[in-house]
């Protein structure tokens, strides 16, 4: 009965699209009441900053998921690409030009990996779950192997100053996250490629009959995911000036998928938005921060997070008639 009543209310106030924003605001007000320190600008900025890394990856995964795929490899890939970037910088020396070169090579590699996974999935007719699960294991093992289980570090001033940089009073990762979201929104909503992503995920057969190269569209979504991971890897490794072969990026895939799902992206494809994922990621960030501020026992934080994720999706389902 409560569900039905809630359903009616949501339908009548037609806030469907902005529901997620209200959820975020609601969570923040709730946290603010429980712990006034939460609403301090410094803390809000921190949340935004910390969310950026997973958020950027989640935006990439949104493309993959709308096209009907999934990418479980992003966490390991983050460690691998971060390690590659650090090793390249160490090799090329502490100059601006060498940092730029390292970044470009990292991006190139990310695109190549994404393209490879995409081709394997589409042309090889292997479920994305399997190819990216394989990628997840392979990337992690490579990073571990070359670092012997240890840490990749860099002393490069030029590289590490990037990750801690503030522009217009805002941390660089946060700015990149926002700009990245805007660009991704345009790509998904305003270009032919974006339209094709939706078509392929919603109805592969009809997309094929509509002269859309289904395999290529899917493959390119993995390239988009790769680019997102590279962006996040560079921001994270430069901020930390190190990549841990065993722990960097652990669990990022789940957080990224959760952010997309909270934002209304369908696990079966054809539905989703960058807008939703952006706020989905922030909701996750707020929850993480809140749990710490409220001194929730570390081992219980997962339970709270899990319940809130499930709750958010139930709300999403309610607003669908």
């Amino acid at each position: 009965m409560i569900l039905i009543a809630a359903k009616k209310t949501f339908r009548s106030i037609n806030l469907s699209k902005y529901l997620i924003v209200f959820i975020l605001i609601g969570l923040m007000v709730f946290s603010g009441i429980l712990s006034p320190a939460f609403l301090k600008p410094r803390n809000i900025l921190n949340i935004f900053w910390q969310t950026s890394y997973v958020g950027i990856i989640a935006i990439g995964i949104t493309f993959v998921m709308i096209a009907g795929g999934i990418d479980l490899s992003v966490g390991s890939m983050l460690a691998l690409l971060g390690a590659v970037a650090i090793q390249l910088v160490n090799k090329f020396g502490d100059r601006t030009s060498s940092v730029i070169l390292s970044i470009l090579i990292t991006y190139a590699m990310a695109m190549l990996l994404g393209f490879g996974i995409g081709l394997l999935t589409t042309k090889g007719r292997i479920p994305a779950f399997v190819t990216t699960l394989g990628g997840m294991a392979i990337y992690r093992s490579l990073v571990l192997n070359f670092a012997n289980g240890g840490v990749y570090m860099t002393m490069s001033q030029k590289y590490t100053s990037m990750g801690m940089k503030f522009v217009l009073g805002l941390p660089l990762p946060m700015l990149v996250f926002i700009i990245y979201a805007v660009v991704a929104y345009i790509l998904l909503d305003k270009t032919k490629f974006g339209r094709h992503v939706f078509a392929v995920g919603a109805n592969e057969t009809a997309a094929m009959y509509s002269a859309i190269n289904v395999d290529m569209v899917r493959t390119w979504t993995y390239v988009v995911s790769g680019i997102s991971v590279a962006t996040s890897a560079i921001l994270l490794s430069s901020m930390m000036s190190a990549v841990s072969s065993s722990s960097t990026g652990n669990g990022f895939e789940l957080d990224a998928i959760a952010a997309a799902v909270i934002g209304g992206t369908s696990l079966s494809g054809g539905k989703g938005s960058v807008f939703g994922t952006f706020f989905g990621a922030l909701i996750l960030g707020v929850i993480n921060n809140m749990l710490v501020m409220l001194n929730v026992a570390v081992y219980l934080q997962g339970t709270v997070k899990g319940l809130i994720i499930i709750g958010a999706v139930i709300l999403q389902n309610l607003r669908r008639e």
Partner: protein, 503 residues
């Protein structure tokens, strides 16, 4: 006894988000009778049937089973013997035929399934329909027509008093329809009431005793079927005089637009096919299910691989290896299965229209305004009934969805249109409009049509020339006056004149 009313609805009203779709409808169904329910898409047929079988609760009004007021839900209705076969198939693809037929009613003994008994019973039903399907086959391996038959068997394998069938014949061949009708008639004799929804008025005329016509949610006729002609029924449905359903025939030129030479499929579904299509012609392809018609068309547009042969467009050999190359060469294909291959239900209507021609609206960024303008243009031209261009395609009626798919193809600027079952599951009015659109395109744009259809009247009414296929071969070409039911059926079935044909 036969006058007993088994199921009736009194004053049935139904509102969907405060729009009334059924207005005070009274219906009565008697034992041992076959009823037809007709009406345009959106007239309320399916809604009424879903109310009478418990899938929907009426906003107002009462439902009676054997004169007892009841509040139905699907399970209760089923236990009372009221069974609805919906338009969309409800089979589980990954289960076997017999498992589907007994789904939810498995025969078991001490927690264990009695597979052998279920398989045997399934075999009996299959035999009754003359279906050569192995009960242990997975449903995913069946053709659409076979799936439909399995769905019907599933329904009648239950204790049934009233069987409601929503468009059961739309994917069946003439032969299978004949078998289905035999079974329906024998059910009637054994005391079952059958309610039959169809757009095919010929079938309605041939099988039903009584007829209910709905228009805009109101009952506009109830009475003996035999008192009306097909034309009168159609006029009742649309509420106005019906012009000639088929447009005047086009006048093809001498110019060959598309030619196919010795085409052979890689998977062997057809061999050595050659034919020509002339500019402004409507060339029909007729054949039974499995004759290779659709496979041939899918090869021409590059979805299936060809083993050998040539395709010539305007006299030049072309290489078509993907739907993209077919589109770029100006060949457009309307798939036979609208919902899985034609339209993308979860996309907005205008996005469906522009899907194949997005480069017309963008250099880098899409000009949404232009897209919407284009959609509105087609909306007016083709009379697409959508409230806004943003309406999701799934909320459009079948006929309007089909018109959206056609607008998508027309927008590509194609010269040759291959329409595979263009009016399947579409009501009379939309059918008429689709024929008009085709006619208009031939006259105004000089385009050419290939029409694949299993509906004989459609083939006969539209085509200048008909190619008949059987078992992957062309078995005859019929032209002009020769295009009639008898000739086409003889060719398609391989029977000679004088042989008996049941169907």
């Amino acid at each position: 006894m036969s006058d007993t009313i088994v199921l009736s609805g009194k004053n049935i009203c139904m509102d969907f988000s405060s729009v009334r779709v059924l207005h005070n409808v009274d219906v009565q169904f008697q034992r041992s009778k076959i009823y037809g329910v007709v009406g345009e898409n959106g007239a309320g047929k399916s809604t009424l049937m879903r109310i009478l079988s418990g899938f929907l609760q009426p906003s107002d009004g009462e439902v009676f089973v054997e004169n007892q007021r009841v509040y139905l839900n699907p399970i209760k209705a089923k236990s009372m013997g009221i069974i609805l076969i919906p338009q969309e198939l409800n089979l589980v693809d990954t289960l076997r035929v017999y498992e589907n037929i007994f789904l939810g009613d498995e025969i078991e003994k001490n927690l264990f399934l009695k597979k052998k008994e279920m398989i045997e019973k399934t075999q009996q039903y299959l035999n009754r329909f003359g279906l050569k399907i192995e009960p242990r086959l997975y449903v995913s391996e069946l053709s659409p027509a076979q799936k439909q038959m399995v769905e019907i068997i599933k329904a009648i394998s239950k204790q049934v008093k009233v069987l409601i069938m929503d468009e059961p014949t739309s994917s069946l061949s003439e032969d299978e329809i004949g078998k289905l009708f035999e079974v329906v008639r024998s059910m009637k004799i054994s005391g079952v009431t059958v309610v039959f929804i169809s757009h095919k008025l010929r079938e309605i005329k041939s099988i039903t005793d009584d007829l209910i016509v709905l228009r805009d949610g109101r009952k506009v006729y109830e009475g003996k079927t035999e008192q009306l002609t097909e034309k009168q029924i159609a006029e009742l449905m649309i509420g106005r005089k019906l012009e000639e359903l088929y447009p005047p025939r086009s006048k093809p030129t001498e110019e060959v637009v598309l030619e196919v030479r010795n085409l052979t499929a890689k998977d062997g579904t057809f061999r050595n096919l050659s034919f020509k299509v002339f500019k402004k012609e409507v060339l029909g392809f007729y054949g039974l299910v499995g004759s290779g018609r659709t496979e041939l068309m899918e090869t021409i547009i590059g979805i299936r691989k060809l083993e050998a042969g040539e395709i010539l467009l305007d006299g030049k050999t072309v290489n078509i290896n993907s739907p993209q190359s077919a589109r770029d060469l100006g060949i457009a294909y309307l798939p036979e299965d609208r919902k899985t291959a034609g339209i993308i239900l979860s996309l907005q209507s205008f996005m469906n229209t522009t899907l194949m021609s997005l480069e017309k609206f963008s250099k880098i960024l899409l000009k949404r305004k232009d897209e919407i303008k284009t959609f509105k243009n087609y909306q007016q031209k083709f009379d697409i009934k959508a409230r806004t261009p943003f309406q999701l395609a799934k909320t459009l009626s079948g006929g309007n969805q089909q018109k959206v798919v056609i607008s998508k193809l027309v927008l590509t600027g194609a010269k040759v249109f291959i329409f595979d079952e263009p009016t399947r599951g579409v009501d009379v009015n939309a059918k008429y409009q689709i024929y008009q659109i085709m006619h208009q395109m031939i006259e105004e744009l000089g385009v050419t049509f290939i029409v694949v259809s299993s509906e004989l009247p459609e083939i006969i009414g539209l085509c200048n020339r008909v190619i008949v296929m059987r078992n992957g071969r062309i078995v005859g070409v019929v032209t002009g006056e020769e295009i009639n039911e008898k000739n086409l059926i003889y060719l398609a079935t391989g029977l000679e004149e004088g042989d008996s044909y049941s169907g």
